[in-house]
C-alpha cells in the first residue's frame, strides 16, 4: 500500500482547459470553513498570492486571470480527507499548459514538470468542450456542406500546399502523445490514477450525458487509448463546471448594435469629445457600418460583430479614459467607485469599468444588455460553495470540486 502522505497529484492539460478555474474553486472550497467539501487544507507550500487572486475573481463571479508566465515558484497544497484522514499533495506545475504544448510541438519535456511527474502517483487531466480540435477531413466536411446545400463546386486540382502545422493536430492525438511520454518515463509506475475532467460541463448537452460517454464521442482516440492501456492508467471521468455557468462579460456583442441608430448618429457626427475620440480610433469598416446604422440601412450580423470587436479593442486601450474627455459625463456611483479603486490599472477588471464609462457617455443611446446576464445573475445569487457543478460515476456531492482528488486518494 502506498504511503498515505506520499500521494502526490498533478493538474495537467493543454492551454485553456479549465485548470485555473478549477484551482480557484478548489482553493476557495478547501480554505473556507463551513463549506460542504470532502477535503480541507492542511497547509500550503509556497506563495498564496496568485491563488488568492484567482479565488477572489472566482468568488466575485468574474473570469479568473490567466497566469501566462506560470507560477514562478512551485506551489502545492496539502489536502486532508476529512473522512479518512488521508493527506495528499496537489501540485500544479503548468497552469498555462505551455509545458504540455511544448511536449507535442517542440518535443521537449520541461525538467520542472519532469521532476513533478517523478513524484506523482496520479493526476487530473483537463479537457474543455468548445476548445477541442477535431480531425475534420475535407471530404466529410464537403459532404456535410453539400447536404446543407451550401457546397460550392470545388476545383479538382491541387493548390499550393500549406506546410503541416502541428498546433492544428487534433486534441486527442496531442493528449495521447502526452500520456505516452508520461508512461514512457523510466520512473513511471503502472496503475497511475488519472481523473479525466471535462470542464465547463454546464455547456454540455444533453444534461444527462455521462462524462465518460462524452469522451467516447468527442475524443474517441483518447478513450480507446485509455481503455487499451488500463494496466497503465486507472481512469475515472468527471464533468465539472467550476464556475457553474457563463459570465456576463463586459464585452460588446453584435446585439448591442441591433437598434443602434441613436448611438451611430452621435458617433458619426462626432460633435462631442468622446465621440470624436472614438470615431478617430475606429476602423474605416466600422465607420461604414455606423453610417449605415445611422441612415437606418440594413447591416449584416457579420458587420455588427466586427463593429463590436472594434469597440472592444478600443475599450482595452490604455488611454480610453481621460478626465477632460469625460469631464461633461455624469458618471454612475458604481463607475466612480471603480475609478477611485484604481481598476483602470487592473487588467483583469478594466473592461468592466470601461464598459460602464461607455454606457455613461451614451446613457440613452447605447444598449446596456450583456450576454448571458440572466444566467450569470442566477449563479451570482447562489453561495459560492453552491455554484460549482460536479458529475460523474461515484460522485457523492454535486457541488464539491474535490471529488476527483478524493477519488485519486482513495
Amino acid at each position: 500500500m502506498k504511503n498515505l502522505t506520499h500521494n502526490h497529484f498533478l493538474l495537467i492539460g493543454l492551454h485553456d482547459t479549465g485548470k485555473t478555474s478549477f484551482l480557484a474553486a478548489l482553493w476557495y472550497m478547501v480554505s473556507q470553513s463551513g463549506t460542504n467539501c470532502g477535503l480541507k487544507l492542511e497547509r500550503l507550500e509556497g506563495d498564496s498570492q496568485y491563488l488568492n487572486q484567482i479565488r477572489d475573481a472566482w468568488s466575485e463571479y468574474r473570469p479568473v486571470p490567466r497566469n501566462k508566465a506560470d507560477l514562478e515558484k512551485p506551489v502545492s497544497m496539502l489536502l486532508k480527507d476529512s473522512a479518512t484522514g488521508r493527506v495528499a499533495r496537489l501540485g500544479f506545475p503548468d497552469l498555462s499548459g505551455e509545458a504540455f504544448k511544448s511536449q507535442w510541438i517542440h518535443r521537449q519535456l520541461a525538467s520542472t514538470y519532469d521532476r513533478s511527474l517523478r513524484e506523482a502517483t496520479g493526476g487530473v487531466l483537463f479537457v474543455k468542450p468548445g476548445n477541442i480540435i477535431k480531425p475534420h477531413r475535407i471530404d466529410t466536411v464537403n459532404a456535410v456542406l453539400g447536404n446543407l446545400g451550401v457546397n460550392e463546386p470545388k476545383p479538382k486540382m491541387k493548390t499550393q500546399d500549406k506546410p503541416w502545422d502541428s498546433e492544428q493536430a487534433p486534441t486527442q492525438v496531442q493528449l495521447v502523445d502526452i500520456l505516452q511520454f508520461m508512461s514512457g518515463r523510466s520512473y513511471f509506475q503502472p496503475g497511475f490514477r488519472l481523473a479525466v475532467v471535462v470542464s465547463a460541463w454546464d455547456r454540455v448537452t444533453p444534461k444527462d450525458r455521462r462524462p465518460s460517454d462524452w469522451i467516447k464521442t468527442e475524443l474517441p482516440l483518447l478513450k480507446q487509448f485509455l481503455e487499451s492501456n488500463e494496466d497503465l492508467f486507472e481512469v475515472s471521468f468527471y464533468g465539472i463546471s467550476a464556475q457553474g455557468g457563463r459570465y456576463a462579460l463586459p464585452h460588446l456583442t453584435s446585439h448591442n448594435f441591433d437598434n443602434a441608430k441613436a448611438v451611430a448618429k452621435r458617433l458619426c457626427e462626432h460633435g462631442d469629445s468622446i465621440s470624436a475620440w472614438i470615431w478617430q480610433k475606429l476602423e474605416p469598416t466600422s465607420h461604414t457600418t455606423l453610417e449605415l446604422l445611422r441612415d437606418g440601412g440594413q447591416t449584416t450580423e457579420l458587420e455588427r460583430k466586427a463593429l463590436a470587436k472594434d469597440f472592444n479593442r478600443l475599450m482595452a486601450e490604455p488611454d480610453f479614459f481621460d478626465e477632460t474627455r469625460f469631464g461633461e459625463v455624469e458618471l454612475r456611483p458604481e463607475t466612480e467607485a471603480l475609478l477611485r479603486n484604481g481598476v483602470l490599472r487592473k487588467n483583469d477588471k478594466k473592461l468592466y469599468l470601461t464598459r460602464l464609462l461607455l454606457e455613461d457617455a451614451y446613457p440613452d443611446e447605447l444598449s446596456r444588455e450583456r450576454e448571458h446576464a440572466d444566467e450569470a445573475l442566477g449563479i451570482q445569487q447562489k453561495l459560492p460553495a453552491q455554484r460549482a457543478l460536479v458529475v460523474g460515476d461515484g460522485v457523492k456531492m454535486a457541488h464539491d470540486v474535490t471529488e476527483p482528488i478524493r477519488w485519486l486518494m482513495r
Binding site: S102, Q103, H106, R107, Q108, L109, A110, S111, D114, I133, P135, H136, R137, I138, D139, T140, V141, A143, K154, P155, K156, M157, K158, T159, D161, K162, W164, D165, S166, Q168, A169, P170, Q172, V173, V176, D177, Q180, F181, S183, G184, R185, S186, F188, P190, G191, P220, L221, Q224, F225, E227, S228, N229, D231, L232
Partner: protein, 335 residues
Amino acid sequence: MATPPSQPPQVPNPPGAAQAEGQAATSVIGGAEKTPEFIDLPQGKELNEDAALELAKSRPVQWIVLAGPSDSGKTTLLTSLFELFQWRKVEGYAFAGSNTLPGFEERCFLSRSASGNPVPHTSRTHYDGPDPQYLHLRIRSTEGLRQFRDLLFTDVSGELFEHARDSTTECKEMIFIKRANHFLLFLDSAKGVQLDKRWAMFDDGKALLQSCLDSEMIGADCVVNVVWSRFDYFIAKGAEEHHRLFRIEVEKQLRETFGQRIPKLIFSEIAARPLEAPTLYIGHGVPALLKQWATTPLEMKAFDLFPASYKGARESELFAARHFSSTTAHEEPNA
C-alpha cells in the same frame, strides 16, 4: 533528406518492462551536474531502421511492407487507417498507441480541413532509400484475451520499388522486404480503368513481385496481398463488364505465375479515399486489411532482428531474444 535520428520505444511497454529515456538528461559543468531546462523527447515523425529494430526487440511486431509505384495509394492507406481510429474502433480493435503520431498527423494534414485545401490529397513520399521509414501503430483486440498487436508499416517512395522491379541486385539491398510478415503489392485501379495503361500497370506490378521472389526476399511464410488500390475508380465504372474481366484475368495470371512460389497469395480491394465513388465509406476495405494483419500468427524472423552478435541488456530484450529463438529454431541463421 537525412535519415532521422533513432528513437527509443515510446509506446507504453507492458508493466514491469524496462523503457528507454529521452535524450540528454544532464550535463557536467565544472564537475557538478547541471540539469538542463528541457529533456528531448522522440520526434515521432517516423522510425528509421535502427529505431524499428529497437522496437521489434522489445515486443513482437508485424512487419508490413507496402509496395507499388508512386501515387498508387500506399501512404493514403496508412492515413485512412489512422483516420478511422480517430473516430471509432475498427473491426473489433482499439487504438492502443503509436510511436509515430506526428508522422501520421503530418501525412493526414493535406486531407484535413485545417490544411485549407479544397480537395483532399496526400503528400508524396520522397525517395530516401535503400532503408525505409516506418510508421508504427499499436492496437488491442476488444474481445477475448484482448491481445496487443504492434504493426510496423514501411512508408517508402514508389521510386524505390521501381529500382527493385528493374534489378534483383537492387532488390536484394532492400533487406526490409525480407522481414515482411505481409507484403502488399499495390495495383492502381485509377490506371486499371484506362485501356491504354492498365496492362502496363499490371506488368510493372508483376515484374516487381517476380524480382522480389527471384532475389529471395519474400519468404514462404509471408502473406502476399495484391491490393487493388483506389478501387473507387472501378466502382465508378461499374456498368462496364470489361473492367471486371480485366481484374479476373489479372488475378488468374498472378495465381498461375506465382501460386506455387507464394503459398499465401490473396487479393483485396481498397478505396482509402473514395472520391470517385462517394457511396463508399472512407477507408473502404481498410478494416478488412487490419483484421488480416491482426489475426495472422506472428512469424518471427530472428535472424533479421537479432544478429549473432546482438546482446540485449534489458530484461525485455532478453525475454524477447529467448522468445524469438524458441519460436524460430527451425530457421537458418542469416550468414
